[in-house]
């Protein structure tokens, strides 16, 4: 099996900032990402849940981004730019990917 090194960057970000983040990712030339719904959570700013809510003020999304290791740094710099003043967390794990030609 032909596997390639990659970084799995997972950004849990406020729903209102999601579009700004993905726009920036695209501008940074990040060639792919997937957005997963988050239905609730808890942090220093308290507990929340999307149940029954209509507004977008509450709530986070999880943006998962597989990138070549050498691109991770630049990506994270950019993410921090959007994130600074906002709540949210970012984690990076070492991963292997199939079909690296797609990244």
């Amino acid at each position: 099996m032909d596997m390639h090194d990659a970084k799995r960057v997972e950004i849990i970000i406020e729903a209102v900032m999601e579009k700004r983040l993905t726009k920036l990712l695209t501008e940074e030339g990040v060639t792919g990402f997937s957005v997963l719904p988050v239905k609730g959570g808890s942090g220093r700013s308290g507990q929340w849940s999307r149940q029954g809510t209509v507004g977008r003020a509450d709530g986070m999304s999880a943006v998962v981004c597989l990138v070549k290791p050498e691109r991770a740094e630049a990506l994270l710099e950019a993410v921090l730019g959007v994130l600074t003043r906002h709540i949210g967390v970012v984690n990076v794990t070492d991963a292997k990917v199939l079909r690296a030609e797609r990244f």
Binding site: V16, M17, G52, R56, A57
Partner: protein
């Protein structure tokens, strides 16, 4: 006064208020009763579409008059002015920081469409007519308050740097936010297709309307009750006082404006409702973007947990009674 209390009591025992109360009670009792987000969103889309369409169709019926333009302009001014009053009051009455005060102020300048919908349905039940374009006024009042509040922040934090960011992208987002677009769009469709168009879809937008409103308020009760439960400690007595006083102040502004404009009794009542109500969808989202350092627990709890229930239960019948007394009808 007696009759106002009677009206308030009658209002309190209507299905829509009781549904809201059920929701609050269930949340406080930590029942697992809940609505899926998609269903809440779906009901809100339905209500916006229906109320917008009916407003437009009614304008088509009664014709556009000079008052429409005047009311829209008045709405924009009210929405832009009320935040200054709210801000001053908050700084005097409470210990909120300038930032939090500005964020809260934005909510009170803007409007709550469900409060408007609930008031419309009470007016309907009492057989009091109103200008169909009040729904357009509601849409016009959503955004100016946000601009006013951001201006307040940029002034108060002078060289403070980061906060208070209003930019083109945010402005576009606010003006084109889903509820404004749907409300105005449905209003225009109702206006264009008129009575004929309304007849085609009346069985959808009118007959089940009040029932959907009940379920939606039940859900809002659940969310508000959960918010109150989580916000324990965030909201001081002074803040609660503000949350009860401010709608009355807003309503007075609405009353004066409506009377000066020469709106009908129902129109004045709705202008009071709009001025008295506080946003809980559009403005919170804008605040998260523009003033992320402001504490959402404060403004969401005040708007949804204090002022909304107050308006729903006591405010609406009070405003209608006052409008009836002042304007007649």
């Amino acid at each position: 006064m007696g009759s106002i209390l009677d009206l308030a009591a009658a209002n309190l025992l209507s299905p829509i208020i009781l549904s809201f109360a059920l929701g609050v009670a269930a949340a406080l009792a930590r029942s697992d009763l809940n609505f899926p987000e998609a269903i809440a969103k779906g009901m809100s889309l339905y209500l916006l579409f229906a109320i917008g369409f009916k407003g437009g169709a009614s304008v088509a019926g009664h014709g556009v008059d000079a008052l429409l333009i005047g009311s829209l302009i008045a709405g924009v001014i009210l929405s832009g002015l009320i935040p200054f009053v709210a801000y001053a009051l908050l700084r005097v009455m409470t210990k909120l920081s300038a930032l939090d005060a500005a964020a809260v102020a934005a909510h009170y300048g803007s409007i709550s469409i469900v409060t408007f919908v609930a008031a419309s349905s009470v007016l309907d039940a009492q057989g009091i007519g109103s200008e169909g374009y009040m729904v357009a006024v509601a849409a016009a009042m959503e955004a100016p308050a946000i601009v006013a509040a951001l201006w307040l922040v940029s002034r108060s934090s002078a060289g403070a740097g980061e906060s208070g960011g209003m930019n083109g992208e945010l402005m576009r987002e606010i003006m084109l936010n889903g509820s404004i677009v749907l409300l105005v769009g449905a209003f225009l469709i109702g206006g264009i297709t008129g009575a004929e168009g309304k007849a085609e879809i009346d069985a959808f937008i009118t007959a089940p309307f009040k029932g959907v409103l009940c379920l939606f308020l039940l859900d809002m009760g659940l969310v508000a009750g959960r918010g109150l439960r989580n916000a324990k400690g965030t909201i001081s007595t002074a803040l609660i006082g503000f949350g009860l006083l401010m709608p009355l102040i807003g309503a007075s502004f609405g009353l004066a404006t409506g009377a000066v404009l020469g709106l009908s009794t129902g129109g004045v009542a709705l202008m009071m409702v709009l001025s008295a109500s506080a946003s809980y969808i559009a403005v919170p989202a804008a605040m998260r973007v523009a003033l992320p350092e402001a504490n959402p627990a404060v403004y969401l709890t005040l708007s949804l947990g204090i002022t909304f229930p107050f308006n729903l239960t006591i405010g609406i019948p009070l405003y209608i009674a006052v409008a009836s007394t002042v304007i007649g009808g």
